[in-house]
């Protein structure tokens, strides 16, 4: 297999496994991830507890498996949120042009000037803590960049002859956006978004680490790292294992993004013209 194909299948496989775990997580864990048993704290890996237990006696393996749902689930929701808002705003701005475009782009500029962390803290200050609010905060801090990208792509595609031909053929603006502009846009978006997925996951984990995200005892990799801080010297596995999980997931997304970009390159290259 060529290098491209190999990377594409490997990362796709990894991502699918992670997705499956996210969906099935709580059902396939050997133990209840929230079940604490102080008699069995900080146990080393054994046959009963494959990765050992944490400081509250909860099975680490189960917690990491279950944590997939929170971490990946949030990333999936962020992806949907960012792309939806970006496509709506960007394609309308690009296709309509004029005042509509100008106004929407100023709104984008406003959102883009605020750093992610500041915006997230502000949103959480307003809305309160919790995973949902963390997700909203990350969506709000990232949609504008994608909206600009969508707008740029829309502008370049709008002037193609086949769009003129579609107008002459009687297409409504909505139909043209849907059939000619969006498919061209989605391809590039998919590639760029997949490169960002790992980044978003780190945001979610980071904010959870700061105590702003999930509430205990919900397992989430970032918060697991935070909880394990007092034990960094005595039981480093409590930090290393969730950290490794984050690392694997982010790597998988990055590899997928790279592979998608390489794979779709000829089509992207054609569109650059």
């Amino acid at each position: 297999m060529t290098r491209q194909n190999w990377m594409l299948w490997l990362s796709l496989g990894l991502v699918l496994v992670l997705l499956a775990l996210a969906v099935a997580g709580p059902w396939i864990t050997p133990y209840d991830p929230a079940e604490a048993d102080l008699e069995r704290r900080l146990l080393a890996p054994s046959l009963t507890h494959w990765l050992g237990t944490d400081h509250l006696g909860r099975d680490l393996f189960s917690r990491i498996l279950a944590g997939t749902r929170a971490s990946l689930g949030s990333v999936a929701l962020i992806l949907v949120g960012v792309l939806t808002v970006a496509i709506l705003v960007g394609s309308v701005a690009g296709y309509a042009g004029g005042t509509v475009d100008a106004v929407l782009m100023r709104v984008c500029d406003a959102f883009m000037t605020v750093p992610t962390l500041v915006l997230a803290l502000f949103m959480i200050g307003v809305l309160g803590t919790g995973l949902a609010n963390v997700i909203i905060a990350v969506i709000l801090s990232h949609w504008a960049w994608y909206a600009r990208l969508v707008r740029g792509l829309t502008l370049s595609l709008k002037n193609r002859d086949y769009v003129a031909a579609a107008v002459v053929a009687g297409g409504s603006r909505f139909a043209i956006l849907r059939r000619h502009i969006l498919p061209g846009v989605l391809g590039q978006l998919a590639v760029l978004a997949s490169l960002d997925l790992g980044h978003w996951m780190l945001h979610v984990s980071g904010l959870s680490f700061l105590g702003l995200g999930v509430a205990p005892p919900t397992p989430e990799w970032g918060i697991m790292i935070n909880d394990a801080r007092p034990f960094v010297w005595t039981s480093p596995m409590l930090i290393i294992l969730p950290g490794a999980a984050i690392f694997i997931a982010v790597m998988a997304f990055n590899l997928l993004g790279d592979a998608l970009r390489d794979r779709l390159d000829p089509v992207l290259a054609e569109r650059v013209h």
Partner: protein
């Protein structure tokens, strides 16, 4: 009553590069043009003479700054700037570059069927498209291939089929054969003539190549001073713009005896 008529159309663009020159370029001024039903009219001119802009205004893709466009006596655009669906269907176009004029993601079938979909038709698409494919000399069995896998000449035939699928009354041929090689040009012109005799469609043939006009068009306009001027290429006296074009036409055969000093 003419099929389509332009009256005193004027159009300007703000030109200049990004270095601040914002001089307005007047592309069309006082332009009059009319096309009767079932007529083939040619519009010739050098590049930059405004003929493409005129074509776009005729198609309703752009609005003139002044003047009006009338289709069968009624204004092309209504007061809200929209074109009535039946009028929209009646005026279609074939563009210069078939690869640019078709979505690279579409199959040949989808390219030709698109106008039908926009018109809200769902049934019998396959038969209609297959029929048109045959009419333009293509094999209906090939229709599911991606459009861009076809050759330039074949793809241009598909574009012609697309222009005809809604049974229009007028088709704008905007340099429709200029990108093709000689043999293909001749074939496509022949095809267009045959289709016109079968369906009674009117054409506006926009081109810079005078050779293509003879034998194809009934009447000729030449772009002169930002407006189309009707002219007869056979007449003794022709407008200077046309004379310039005629002088630039290359010979059909090598001119022997008239030699430039060559080594």
């Amino acid at each position: 009553m003419s099929l389509i008529e332009l009256r005193q159309v004027a159009k300007a663009y703000r030109g200049g590069g990004p270095f601040g020159r914002s001089a307005t370029v007047q592309v069309l001024e006082g332009a009059d043009l009319r096309i009767e039903p079932d007529e083939c009219v040619a519009l010739v001119g050098a590049s930059g003479s405004g003929k493409s802009t005129l074509g776009r205004i005729l198609l309703g893709l752009e609005r003139p700054d002044r003047g009006e466009v009338r289709f069968e006596g009624a204004p092309l655009h209504d007061r809200r700037g929209r074109i009535r669906p039946d009028v929209r269907r009646a005026v279609q176009a074939v563009f210069q570059d078939p690869f640019g004029a078709t979505n690279p993601r579409f199959s040949a079938f989808e390219v030709v069927a698109e106008p039908l979909r926009h018109a809200g038709q769902r049934d019998g698409l396959r038969e209609r498209v297959a029929g048109l494919a045959r009419a333009v000399g293509l094999d209906p069995a090939e229709l599911d291939r991606p459009a861009h896998r076809f050759s330039g000449g074949q793809l241009q035939r598909l574009c012609i089929a697309r222009a005809l699928v809604l049974s229009p009354r007028l088709v704008l041929l905007d340099e429709a054969v200029s990108s093709q090689d000689l043999l293909t040009q001749a074939q496509i012109l022949r095809l267009l003539q045959r289709l016109r005799s079968q369906t009674g469609i009117a054409y506006l043939f926009v081109t810079h190549d005078l050779r293509l006009v003879r034998g194809f068009a009934d009447r000729l306009y030449v772009m002169a001073d930002r407006r189309p001027v009707e002219a007869d290429p056979q007449a003794a006296e022709v407008p200077p713009a046309l004379a310039r074009l005629q002088a630039a036409v290359l010979p059909a055969r090598p001119v022997s005896g008239l030699s430039l000093p060559s080594g």
